[in-house]
């Protein structure tokens, strides 16, 4: 006959999940304290959404360049950079904080722009309808210190108005998917070369196969990263090439100012036709 032993509860087998005691705390939503000092926040929604498209990545550099991953709200602007391109979007007076694109998405999901902010240890945002979001933030004061002169150093007058035909020709001709970084032994970085009278590019930048003859408004031979060129052309209303020790492409749109550092071809840009 089978016999089932009587199961007795012993001290060694009785246990409870540690989280069970704390689950109430975990699930509890802690609203901001009553005495939170709220600062009015201008409409930053457009600014952070715009700037989030221009961030870079610190993945291949390490944590000391974590500023590349963030969207920085500082000195009345929203700033983002990937190390080669820098954009600022004017939003108006507000406290300084830096957030990741995932937090931008969280804020955007509320539909409207938050009206108030508090930065005591956590980023607390409040909406006019009573909604609130508490998340984390960082600040990069040294980066802000460094990028401010990068924009201010340039003359932001006498820009060339963007001609839609000119832009559409470039975007139409150069919107190809460029080859991955390394092709065999050669490195293809996805560059598009600008000379004063023509634009040259192609899937493999070491063997370009597309040429567009037009007035390019640049005074020297320069090279754009294809993705940055297309992205900037799509948002710019006015633009300008600046040549000095370094060549820059400056672009403007309502509330937006942007700078792209341009590469310099060492060898002559090939003539295809």
């Amino acid at each position: 006959m089978n016999q089932v032993a009587k199961i007795e509860e012993t001290a060694s087998t009785a246990y409870s999940l540690r989280a069970a005691h704390r689950s109430d705390d975990f699930l509890k939503i802690m609203p901001p304290a009553e005495d939170t000092e709220w600062h009015p926040l201008p409409a930053i929604l457009d600014g952070i959404t715009f700037a989030a498209r221009f961030i870079g990545s610190s993945k291949m550099w390490g944590h000391h360049r974590a500023y590349l991953d963030h969207v920085h709200v500082a000195r009345g602007k929203v700033i983002a950079t990937d190390g080669k391109c820098l954009v600022e979007y004017s939003v108006g007076e507000c406290p300084d904080f830096s957030i990741l694109p995932v937090q931008v998405a969280q804020i955007t999901a509320f539909g409207e722009a938050p009206s108030h902010v508090n930065l005591d240890s956590r980023l607390k945002l409040k909406w006019a309808n009573g909604n609130y979001l508490i998340t984390k933030f960082r600040t990069f004061p040294e980066l802000v210190e460094q990028v401010t002169p990068l924009i201010a150093a340039h003359d932001w007058d006498d820009f060339i108005k963007m001609d839609p035909d000119w832009r559409d020709q470039i975007i139409g001709r150069f919107s190809y998917k460029s080859a991955p970084d390394r092709v065999g032994y050669k490195r293809s970085k996805g560059l598009v070369y600008f000379t004063p009278d023509r634009i040259v590019g192609g899937m493999y930048d070491f063997a370009p196969d597309i040429e567009l003859r037009m007035v390019t408004h640049t005074k020297a031979d320069v090279a754009f990263d294809q993705k940055q060129l297309l992205r900037a052309l799509k948002v710019a209303d006015e633009f300008k090439f600046v040549h000095g020790d370094v060549s820059y492409f400056l672009f403007k749109a309502p509330n937006v100012r942007g700078v792209i550092a341009l590469d310099r071809p060492v060898d002559p840009v090939p003539v295809l036709s």
């Binding site: 550099w61 000391h64 980066l143 990028v147 341009l262 590469d263 310099r264 071809p265 060492v266």
Partner: protein
């Protein structure tokens, strides 16, 4: 096509000494973001670290040898004591027995020589015709190893000579920095004010 890459804060293709060296030899070095002396500094740092590690290893080895010497002295003293003990009681302590290693080694060498003689390896004719000659026969616990050799006819490439040629190329790449030009004045000013390559702003 070669391109001098630009960045706002740092070189987009990396600022490691090897990257800078490759860019200098390639002619695509960026005087605003790269220091031409970084490769030399990095080499010195690396060699210094190697010597520090070597010193620490040698110190460890020296400490170990001193310990062994002390143990041998202790053993000598113990053997003296054991001898005195034998004189009194007639008991022979195991410490007074020799290890007989030298005799054993001679036995093994004899056997090895015998194996070598038995092997009597003769180089095949094809190999002799191709210029190969026999160098040595070595016997281990499991194998008999025969080494054959052939004289090289091509001109060997030495690291020293190749490095010399690359240094000459590097010197040519450095020439622009010895004349006053707009780009290079920027570099000289930067080195004068900040002796080290900036790594980018630290975390806020």
């Amino acid at each position: 096509m070669r391109v001098v890459s630009e960045g706002l804060f740092f070189h987009p293709d990396g600022s490691a000494p090897a990257d800078v060296l490759n860019r200098m030899l390639d002619g695509t070095m960026n005087p605003r973001l790269d220091s031409p002396f970084l490769p030399a500094f990095a080499e010195t740092h690396e060699a210094r670290e190697r010597i520090v590690a070597q010193i620490s290893r040698t110190e460890g080895r020296l400490a170990m040898l001193r310990g062994m010497l002390a143990r041998m002295d202790e053993r000598l003293a113990a053997q003296e004591v054991a001898t005195a003990h034998y004189a009194e009681t007639g008991e022979i302590d195991p410490i007074l027995l020799p290890s007989c290693e030298s005799v054993a080694k001679a036995e093994v060498a004899k056997q090895t020589q015998q194996v070598k003689d038995e092997a009597a390896f003769v180089l095949p004719d094809e190999l002799v015709k191709a210029g190969w000659s026999q160098k040595s026969v070595h016997v281990t616990d499991n194998d008999i190893i025969v080494t054959i050799r052939k004289t090289r006819t091509d001109a060997p490439v030495t690291v020293e000579e190749t490095a010399k040629a690359v240094v000459e190329k590097f010197k040519i790449a450095l020439q622009p920095f010895q004349v006053d030009g707009a780009n290079f004045r920027v570099l000289r000013d930067r080195i004068a004010t900040r002796p080290q390559q900036p790594k980018g702003p630290p975390d806020g």
